[in-house]
């Protein structure tokens, strides 16, 4: 889907009415808000987060990056998978039923979701994820503000061709809307006064995108991201892994805020009478010290450097070999949120490229 044939125009006021109409029709909408509006902690202002939207005024479309990616709606931090009874023995899967519209997703995060779609639809399929994904409508928005640590322009993630239902670009007076799916087309019918985009407006969209890409280029890989799998070949013993991981807290922040990291742990919770219970999963991360620990206490990656290296290989090589994707989209969240500031892929990959 996508392509210029499907481009529409929606005025700024029209978009406000569009969101209002979506909400009026009892849809559940999440979008980006200033964190202080969610946490009520004054110091949290200036950070962005996805949260439920109850009126068009609550929605921010001019954010640079959110703290946590929208994966939290497709792979929640805690997700109940099934409930069970021990006597008589029975198991019932919890099938997600909520329909959700995520309003305002940047292209790099959509690419990350496309990657997760691939991972979770590979046999054995992850029905919980796929069910949530099917029930999620994604309305993309091209970034105008660029986060200081973002480098998506280096990762081929400045624009995205599929994975969205609608994709908006703010060209000043109005939004250009790319219709990416039937679901998107039917949703757009709720918007008042839409019209086909004029060629000049399409050009304007390209200009807006090019401008953002240029701003993002301020922080970039010194080479094509497609070289990453071969660049990492034979770098297992490079000094950088020890050097950088010396300051690693093993806190897993880089994993947990990553839009392509999908690892989870599965646990059971029984009732106090031990007669019934539930099974849930929760985010896990390969930087955590016990992640690769197995029965008997052995740990395949017991050292910080092993864990630190593993993440970069996973991003640049392992996922590529298995699924054909470079598992980094350049959002810059790991880089911005690492307590020791050692997680920046640009710094690590550029140094490996320099060969020193």
């Amino acid at each position: 889907m996508g392509g210029d044939m499907n481009l529409a125009i929606i005025e700024k006021e029209g978009l406000r009415l569009f969101v209002a109409e979506i909400l009026r029709q009892k849809n559940t909408v999440v979008g980006v808000k200033d964190q202080s509006a969610v946490s009520s902690i004054p110091g949290d202002s200036g950070f962005y987060t996805y949260a439920p939207i109850n009126s068009p005024e609550e929605l921010t479309l001019s954010f640079d990056v959110t703290l946590i990616p929208p994966k939290k709606y497709l792979l929640p931090a805690y997700e109940q998978l099934l409930t069970f009874n021990l006597s008589p023995g029975s198991i019932k899967a919890d099938v997600p039923k909520e329909e959700l519209i995520v309003f305002g997703v940047h292209p790099y995060d959509i690419i990350a979701i496309n990657q997760m779609d691939k991972v979770f639809s590979t046999v054995p399929q992850d029905n919980h994820y796929l069910e949530r994904r099917k029930r999620t409508t994604i309305i993309g928005i091209d970034p105008v503000k660029v986060a200081p640590r973002a480098f998506w322009s280096s990762m081929g993630a400045d624009t995205v061709a599929s994975g969205f239902d609608l994709m908006l670009t703010d060209i000043g007076q109005c939004y250009v809307v790319d219709v990416g799916s039937k679901k998107g087309a039917s949703l757009l019918k709720m918007a008042p006064r839409t019209r086909e985009a004029a060629p000049a407006e399409v050009k304007e969209r390209d200009k807006v995108r090019a401008g953002a890409r240029k701003r993002c280029d301020a922080n970039r890989l010194s080479f094509s991201y497609l070289e990453l799998p071969s660049l990492l070949d034979g770098k297992e013993e490079h000094v950088i892994w020890e050097e950088k991981s010396h300051l690693c807290f093993s806190c897993g922040t880089c994993n947990l805020v990553c839009p392509t990291c999908y690892c989870f742990d599965v646990r059971d919770d029984v009732s106090i009478d031990l007669k019934k219970g539930s099974r849930y999963r929760t985010w896990d991360g390969c930087l955590l010290s016990d992640f690769a620990q197995v029965a008997g206490g052995g740990n395949f990656r017991g050292h910080r450097a092993d864990r630190y290296r593993h993440r970069f290989y996973r991003k640049g090589q392992f996922i590529y070999r298995r699924f054909g994707d470079i598992a980094c989209v350049g959002c810059g969240r790991c880089s911005a949120q690492c307590p020791s500031d050692i997680a920046d892929p640009v710094a690590v990959f550029n140094r490996l490229k320099e060969g020193i």
Binding site: V38, G43, D44, S271, D290, P339
Partner: protein, 246 residues
């Protein structure tokens, strides 16, 4: 199957963790349906020397405590330390870095000679401990989780990763990103990052993770203009018994 017999004991501490058990409210009857509490000074007058599980609050800070905890250990099939004083030594260990005589006089005045105390230590420094319920105070939900694991004959899950994980799951803005101090990156999670979620920072009440990166902590604190001495002071607030704090 008869209900496991549980005894609750206290050593040096504020009894806040036992209070958390009293405060279980909505599940307290379910818990009592599964275990028989046979000794609990804070909440009942009966007592018994026959028990399967001992829940121990407070740190060990006298020679006589040692004898008492050893006797408890001998009688109990399973011994669980509850609360920071019992699991890591807690607040009491702050006195370990001060003059013993001065501290004793400060607390007991002219009766100081009645009390023969020594450096405070966690229960595990004296007898083997089967499970720890960390925190100051303990988290009631976690307490129930540990109890349920024991009833199933399972090893309770006690996180060995930093509070940062709980913060990310809670969707908190990192305190460090706001340019403020936080013990989260070296502190054991499991609290749901409750302090940060409420707008404060992590004080480290659950103690350090098994393998804290102290080099990284020093470097990080330096960035915030906090000296190594101040940082050690922050660790000593709860975790002074740890080698890293000495």
């Amino acid at each position: 199957m008869s209900k496991p017999r549980v005894a609750i004991f206290d050593f040096a501490g504020c009894e806040g963790d036992q209070l958390q058990i009293v405060n279980l409210e909505e599940v307290v009857l379910d818990v009592l349906g599964r275990v028989e509490i046979v000794t609990w000074r804070e909440a009942m007058k009966e007592q018994s020397d026959h028990y399967d599980i001992a829940l121990v609050e407070g740190s060990i800070t006298r020679k006589s405590d040692e004898e008492r905890i050893k006797a408890i250990r001998e009688k109990a099939g399973i011994l669980v330390a509850i609360g920071a004083c019992a699991t890591i030594g807690g607040i009491n260990c702050m006195k370990n870095f001060q003059d013993e005589k001065f501290v004793r006089r400060y607390v007991y005045g002219d009766k100081a000679h009645w009390y023969n105390t020594y450096a405070a230590r966690p229960v595990s420094a004296v007898v083997p401990v089967d499970a720890n319920v960390h925190g100051c105070p303990i988290n009631r939900e976690e307490f129930v989780q540990v109890l349920k694991a024991l009833l199933q004959g399972k090893k309770p899950f006690i996180p060995n990763y930093p509070v940062c994980v709980d913060c990310k799951k809670a969707g908190n803005v990192c305190v460090l990103l706001k340019g403020q101090f936080c013990m989260g990156p070296v502190t054991r999670a499991g609290c749901g990052a409750c302090c940060v979620t409420e707008g404060a920072y992590c004080w480290g009440c659950r103690g350090l993770v098994d393998d804290p990166n102290m080099d990284a902590a020093r470097e990080l604190l330096g960035r915030f203009g906090i000296s190594a001495g101040e940082a050690i002071g922050q660790i000593r607030l709860y975790d002074g018994y740890r080698e890293e704090a000495r």
